[in-house]
């Protein structure tokens, strides 16, 4: 069962896009549209592959998370995705760090759907 952490993650847990740019070959980014939209499918496949290969964490950049308790919506939705071990919300940066179990292979579409159903807007998905 996924361990859920609602609230404010430490800054050190969140890696921004500028850091990712220095990790060529180990990071990926998906620019999200409407949940389930076909416009994201092409870039999604590349990230899906890296999820399987590396496991580890995924960083969701989200808009509209206005408070810690509101963010519990997204926490609950993400926890339902198979392979999600831990969720940490950082309201300051609007990011959600999702820790995956080893070998877990959730798709970008699953993350996108979870954020959409939570009532927020997913800007992009990053690999820290």
């Amino acid at each position: 069962m996924a361990k859920r952490v609602i609230g404010i993650a430490t800054a050190a847990m969140v890696v921004g896009g500028s850091v990712l740019s220095g990790c060529a070959g180990r990071s990926g980014t998906v620019t999200a549209g409407t949940a389930g939209a076909s416009s994201t499918q092409g870039s999604t496949e590349a990230v899906e592959a890296s999820f399987v290969r590396e496991g580890g964490d995924v960083l969701l950049v989200i808009k509209g998370m206005s408070c810690p308790m509101c963010a519990s919506n997204i926490d609950n939705e993400l926890a339902e995705i198979p392979g999600v071990k831990r969720v940490a919300v950082d309201l300051n940066t609007g990011t959600v760090r999702v820790s995956l179990t080893k070998g877990a292979a959730p798709t970008a579409a699953q993350f996108e759907r979870a954020v959409y159903d939570s009532g927020f807007t997913l800007a992009r998905i990053e690999r820290p």
Partner: protein
């Protein structure tokens, strides 16, 4: 404090303890915010209110003291649709000057009028980590579940809309609704529960005082809340009430306190409000 009031306090506290459920935060106490549980999620809010009405325009010298516990359950049907059920428990004590050896106090305890709403968020624009603009419409009905002299004893349809704007530390909400009363009972006690239709309009500003920025050591947030609610009845009665208050929201719970101060009141034969005091709890399991 009278015996009936004491009993009411016990009922309120017991109900509160039994009914704590997950809720959402970042919303003012009275003015409807455009927030809802996620799909398939249920949350609840409980608000204990103490309202004192002591200005009797008829000169009869009546006073009414209401102690009420409002339980609000919300269910996320989908991303943009939600259902809301509200059930008040009311204890009302009416006091009149004694004119003889009889009792000068009458107490009523029981359910108030329950309400069910269907809400649809038809616009949402998220433009930053915290920032958002949202609009919602709601359609509801107030059911005749109220006890004697507490409810309208009628099915009253309600239509309304809400707007929410959050930018950084500021949150602004506005809400309006119209209740079409089908009741034939003229409630002489409280505005909004009689035979006249009711237009209610409210605004709320929520400002995050602490922390200035979310950081590593942040575990909760303190807000200053200022609400205003205007109630206009088609019969001419009206009131405008300001509700300054405080809200503390942690990651697992929230608590709020507000005081109602009447700004303007006009009534022919109804009691006018002296003040209100409300304490709310939100717990996330």
């Amino acid at each position: 404090m009278s015996a009936s009031t004491t009993r009411s306090v016990c009922v309120a506290i017991a109900t509160l303890l039994l009914c704590c459920e997950p809720v959402s935060g970042q919303q003012a106490t009275r003015v409807q915010a455009v927030t809802q549980p996620g799909r398939g999620e249920v949350d609840a809010t409980q608000l204990i209110s103490f309202d004192r009405y002591g200005r009797d325009p008829t000169g009869a010298g009546r006073t009414v003291t209401d102690l009420s516990v409002h339980t609000v359950l919300r269910y996320g049907i989908s991303r943009d649709w939600s259902a809301v059920a509200q059930l008040p428990i009311v204890s009302r004590v009416t006091e009149m000057p004694a004119v003889g050896p009889g009792d000068d106090e009458e107490g009523i305890q029981g359910l108030g009028d329950a309400r069910v709403d269907l809400r649809y968020r038809f616009y949402q624009h998220d433009f930053g980590p915290l920032n958002t603009i949202r609009l919602a419409a709601r359609f509801g009905v107030e059911a005749p579940t109220g006890a004697r002299d507490v409810g309208s004893h009628s099915w009253d349809p309600i239509i309304g809309a809400s707007a929410m704007y959050i930018n950084g530390r500021w949150g602004l909400n506005a809400s309006a609704e119209y209740k079409l009363s089908t009741s034939t009972i003229r409630d002489n006690a409280i505005i909004g529960s009689g035979a006249d239709d009711l237009l209610e309009f409210g605004t709320a500003a929520v400002y995050r005082v602490f922390p200035e920025r979310w950081g590593n050591e942040s575990h909760g947030a303190g807000y200053i809340v200022l609400e205003h609610v205007s109630r206009f009845e088609t019969g001419g009665d009206r009131e405008v009430v300001a509700y300054p208050g405080l809200l503390w929201e942690d990651t697992r719970w929230a608590a709020e306190l507000s005081v109602g101060v009447p700004i303007h009141q006009r009534s022919v034969d109804r009691l006018e409000r002296d003040f209100s005091l409300s304490i709310g709890f939100r717990v996330l399991f």
